[in-house]
């Protein structure tokens, strides 16, 4: 009996001390972590809308930001959208102009594509195709040939699935944005 009390009291003591230390560290870390997240999103908002100086979060569902220039003129929108890639979720921030007609740029926030192949969606030759890309009625993709239409991009050799997934994610995100605009929610 004495032994059981000894066991229980030791374990409880360890649990209490450890719990106290953890909650202390957590209280210190949580605001910093949130700050990091905010900074990261903020950075991405301006990366995909490089002329922007100010932003404002739209009150609709999801992470959508209005981007303004210095004189508070609306330049466009930055919005987060996600979908399934080759191996897992791809989460991106997309910048569009204010009429939702042209893609300005995109920035990958999260991905788990094959290193060296699918991860080329992070790099320039593929990414540059989206700079000022027409997105009416939607973005089209083409395999193995140089794009001929203003709304076309060429897929990455060896990573067709990742590139098509990215195009689809942007298209569905854009569609969602247009719906919101029709309802005057933007």
């Amino acid at each position: 009996m004495k032994k059981i009390i000894h066991i229980i009291s030791t374990l409880t003591l360890i649990g209490v001390v450890i719990g106290a230390i953890l909650s202390f560290v957590n209280n210190w870390a949580t605001p910093l972590i949130e700050l990091n997240k905010k900074k990261e999103t903020e950075k991405a908002v301006y990366l995909v809308n490089p002329l922007g100086k100010k932003n404002e979060k739209v009150k609709a569902n999801g992470e959508i930001f209005k981007v303004f220039d210095e004189a508070d003129n609306l330049l466009g929108y930055s919005f987060v959208c996600e979908g399934n890639g080759f191996q897992g979720k791809i989460r991106i921030m997309v910048g569009v102009d204010k009429n939702l007609e042209k893609i300005i740029s995109y920035e990958v926030l999260e991905q788990s594509e094959t290193p060296g192949l699918g991860t080329k969606i992070l790099d320039d030759p593929f990414k540059k195709q989206f700079n000022n890309l027409f997105a009416i009625p939607r973005i089209e993709w083409i395999k193995g040939k140089a794009p001929s239409k203003p709304n076309e991009v060429q897929t990455i050799t060896g990573a067709t699935i990742s590139s098509v997934a990215l195009v689809n994610i942007i298209n569905s995100g854009l569609e969602n944005m247009r719906k919101l605009k029709e309802k005057n929610l933007l």
Binding site: G19, N26, N84, Q87, G88, K89
Partner: protein, 190 residues
């Protein structure tokens, strides 16, 4: 359809052993005989399915509502350890043959990082209860599959003339590498 994708992704494409490197210790340790590999795989699948349910309940009903997410790691590992102990006791009472088949593998599962990895991944991806159940089952099936194939290859390897320094773990690792390459072929399925 979504559930189907989760299952195949966990079992084949993102196989826990061959692409997430979770549960390598039992993969190297218990893969020299097909019979014990199957038992180990079954025991792990069993614990994985239960863990996915219990950890979902713990995460969504206790940790998140009370804002103590930072206790996730200690609480998950404790729950898994006691769960394994509990499962062992239940199996011992309910079915002696099953206990004889799985018994010695159960304590090993506590230190199998695949179980904790499963619980953490499921909570990170915000799966619903059904989804995390399917995820757990898929991961278990994938683990069993990898272990079973590996043990089949190793039984053949016993008969071959492997250079002395490569016997045991090194040749197993290299074989696992080739197996991982083969499993990459599944990636085009989705």
């Amino acid at each position: 359809m979504e559930l189907f994708i989760i299952f195949f992704s966990a079992a084949l494409i993102n196989n826990f052993v061959l692409s997430y490197f979770l549960g390598i210790c039992p993969f190297i340790g218990v893969s020299n005989k097909t019979s014990s590999a199957l038992s180990m795989g079954m025991a792990t699948t069993f614990v994985m399915v239960i863990t996915s349910i219990v950890s979902w309940l713990l995460w969504n009903l206790i940790l998140v509502p009370f804002h103590i997410e930072y206790l996730q790691i200690p609480s998950f590992i404790l729950v898994i350890a006691s769960l394994v102990q509990f499962v062992e006791m239940v199996i011992k009472k309910v079915s002696q043959p099953l206990y004889r088949a799985l018994g010695i593998f159960l304590p090993l599962i506590t230190t199998n990082c695949a179980i904790l990895g499963l619980a953490l991944l499921a909570s990170m991806r915000n799966y619903s209860l059904i989804e995390s159940l399917v995820f757990g089952f898929g991961a278990g099936v994938g683990f069993t599959l990898a272990l079973f194939i590996m043990s089949g290859i190793r039984e053949e390897l016993e008969l071959t003339d492997v250079p002395l320094p490569f016997r045991g773990a090194p040749i197993t690792l290299i074989t696992a590498g080739l197996l991982a390459l083969a499993f990459m072929g599944f990636a085009g399925m989705i």
